[in-house]
């Protein structure tokens, strides 16, 4: 017998067995990093715990952490499906092809892949519009900077990160036409020491606001040391720095989505969706804006947040030109999701090239 058939029949038999025995729904989570990374995986695991808290005994969650992207991921997903998981969240872009492969073998198991673009009958994708949060950061940054130099620490030059840079830049420029961005790529998702060095380099070169697209708090520490520099929490709230440089934050909040999707599986109403939620549906949270920010700036930022949340304002609304001066969005035109998803260019005014 072919393995695929074996797998399917094993899963079916198991599904019947467990279905008859108990009515707990098993939900699996595949993590790319350790739950103790204090950033990306840490926040996904918070979402998992929220699912447990919400459903109690009706749901059993399992997770495997530190799963390498590739064959290991495929095996872990298969293993979860075999042991009776009905819903599996795969929480890294690199899990995309493995998720699709495994989903083919288990048509009765639902899969949810974070940050990818491939869907199937039993595979949904979900992602967060972090660039909405970046717009608010950019506004605060543009208002707060005295040196008019804003430092930006990027991980890898991928659309997700470039989108954030563009959004922050557009909104900083809007409130402060003199602003310039200094961008440093560290080519790593996780190296606290290197992130610190990058932050210091930016501060030494005159940046007094640091935005980061890497997950550790090391950037805030460097800012605290420098004194009159501010920064933002990334991925988690990083509220422990609220008395220091952290003036606000972008929080990944997966809990509502995870709860909603788990409920859909329990109720039998699960359907393939392509979710890209932002501030409005609570997937992107804005951490408390501290008193370091003047009241009028805070009010401005909160108003922007409200108008984004209600859908009244889109952070990428024309007129916006590309870096080379060509027109990207005409006056009043808003960016379509396709272009945003694969964004590979800077907007006009940002100096330097995107490494490729």
């Amino acid at each position: 017998m072919k393995l695929t058939k074996l797998l399917t029949s094993a899963a079916l038999a198991l599904g019947m067995a467990t279905g008859a025995m108990a009515d707990t729904t098993k939900v699996g989570f595949v993590y790319v990093g350790p739950v103790g990374d204090g950033g990306w995986t840490y926040e996904h695991d918070k979402g998992r715990l929220a699912v447990e808290a919400e459903f109690g005994d009706a749901v059993e969650t399992t997770y495997v952490e530190n799963v390498a992207e590739g064959p290991d991921a495929e095996r872990v997903m298969t293993q979860m499906a075999l042991s009776g998981a009905k819903l599996i969240f795969t929480t890294s872009f690199g899990f995309m092809d493995p998720t699709i492969n495994v989903a083919k073998k288990f048509p009765n198991v639902k899969f949810e892949h974070a940050t990818g673009y491939k869907t199937a009958d039993n595979v949904s994708v979900y992602s967060a519009r972090f660039y909405e949060g970046r717009a608010i950061q950019g506004t605060i940054a543009g208002r707060m900077t005295k040196s008019n130099v804003i430092g930006y620490i990027g991980s890898f030059p991928i659309p997700e990160v470039i989108r954030g840079i563009n959004s922050a830049y557009i909104h900083a420029k809007k409130v402060n036409p003199d602003v310039t961005f200094k961008i440093v790529w560290v080519y790593t998702w996780f190296d606290p020491a290197k992130e610190t060095d990058a932050a210091k380099a930016l501060i030494e070169q005159g940046a007094d606001v640091i935005l980061q697209h890497t997950d550790s708090t090391s950037v805030l520490t460097a800012a605290a040391e420098a004194g009159n520099v501010i920064g933002f929490g990334q991925a988690s709230d990083m509220a422990e720095y609220a008395d220091g440089p952290r003036v606000s934050s972008i929080i990944d909040n997966w809990a509502p989505y995870y709860i909603e999707r788990t409920r859909a599986v329990i109720d039998g109403t699960w359907e393939t969706v392509n979710t890209w939620d932002g501030i409005g549906r609570g997937m992107v949270g804005i951490g408390e804006i501290t008193d370091k920010v003047p009241a009028d700036v805070k009010a401005e930022a909160l108003a922007l947040k409200a108008s984004i949340a209600s859908g009244e304002y889109h952070p990428f609304t024309g007129p916006i030109n590309k870096q080379d001066g060509s027109v990207w969005l005409k006056d009043g035109e808003t960016a379509d999701d396709g272009t945003l998803a694969g964004m590979g260019f800077y907007v006009e005014g940002i100096e330097g090239d995107i490494p490729s």
Partner: protein
């Protein structure tokens, strides 16, 4: 591109901080290797130091106690290596790798409840007049105490190896353990002490990351620095002051490349990111004329039965 925005004084000051964990770990490993032992478990001992230093500093509120705990933690872990290589006479390369694997896992287990906590701040030297000096101030007189300690350790190791009897014995053991044994030196005992010193230094280096450089605990936060430290010892051809030079050079290239990026220099970023490693290789080739070589007994197993 605006190179004038790079401030060389601040650059030097921050590269010293960047280099200190590597320096501490490397100077410890230098002593270990001088004694004829190759311990590839530096990364494991560093991360154990990072987590134990962090935990104790948070629990007691004292960074000083944290650093002491880190040294003790690193030394304790190195005892596992001692048992394998000095008692059970196992292969040192494999034992060191096992130590790293074990240390990474074990630190993550201990550290579970310390994620997302901010440790107490480590004090910085602030001498009223000297620290405010223009160029010398930021470079020489306004760091934390562990940074000065790391330089002091380098000086002490240099002095010990060069001018003391203990240093002579240590080198003898590393060059030819059979001859040293015949002369009546306790080869195994000396090596155990050297390995524990190496462990303590690596532990300190780890804690410097978790308490000073990054102030936080996250799994795997040493991110390969232990391996760089190992490479540095070879790079320095087992000379203490060259370890210092090498650490500052390596830290320096990393800091400079980030500064160049921030200044908008149009060199492709990925090549800048590679540069610390490439430059290390190039310097190594240049230095290769220096024929001072590894301790002759490095990595070889000693047993007193013959």
């Amino acid at each position: 591109m605006d190179l004038t925005s790079i401030n060389p004084v601040l650059l030097v000051a921050s590269l010293m901080v960047a280099a200190t964990p590597i320096l501490l770990a490397a100077i410890g490993e230098l002593v270990v290797e001088k004694a004829g032992v190759l311990n590839l478990g530096v990364e494991g001992m560093m991360i154990i130091g990072a987590v134990s230093g962090f935990a104790i500093a948070v629990e007691t509120g004292s960074p000083l106690l944290g650093f002491i705990a880190a040294a003790v933690g690193g030394a304790l872990l190195s005892l596992l290596f001692v048992f394998l290589t000095q008692v059970a006479l196992a292969n040192q390369v494999a034992s060191g790798l096992a130590l790293t694997l074990f240390g990474l896992g074990f630190s993550a287990l201990i550290g579970q409840s310390y994620v997302g906590i901010r440790p107490p701040a480590t004090g910085q030297l602030n001498i009223p007049f000297l620290s405010e000096l223009d160029v010398v101030g930021p470079i020489l007189f306004s760091h934390d105490l562990v940074l000065y300690l790391s330089i002091a350790i380098v000086a002490a190791v240099w002095y010990m190896l060069k001018f003391t009897r203990a240093g002579l014995i240590l080198r003898a053991v590393g060059e030819n353990h059979d001859a040293a044994h015949a002369l009546g030196y306790k080869v195994v005992r000396i090596r155990i002490m050297a390995i524990m010193f190496g462990g303590a230094c690596a532990g300190l280096g780890g804690a410097y990351i978790s308490l000073v450089r990054v102030p936080q605990w996250t799994e795997g936060m040493t991110a390969g620095i232990g391996w760089i430290a190992l490479a540095l010892v070879v790079f320095a051809s087992w000379k203490p002051w060259r370890v210092l030079l090498g650490a500052y050079l390596f830290g320096g290239v990393t800091v400079v490349q980030l500064n160049l990026q921030a200044a908008g220099v149009a060199i492709p970023v990925e090549y800048l990111a590679m540069s610390p490693y490439l430059i290390t290789i190039i310097v190594l080739v240049i230095l290769s004329k220096d024929k001072s070589s590894a301790p002759a007994s490095l990595g070889r197993i000693f047993h007193a039965s013959h």
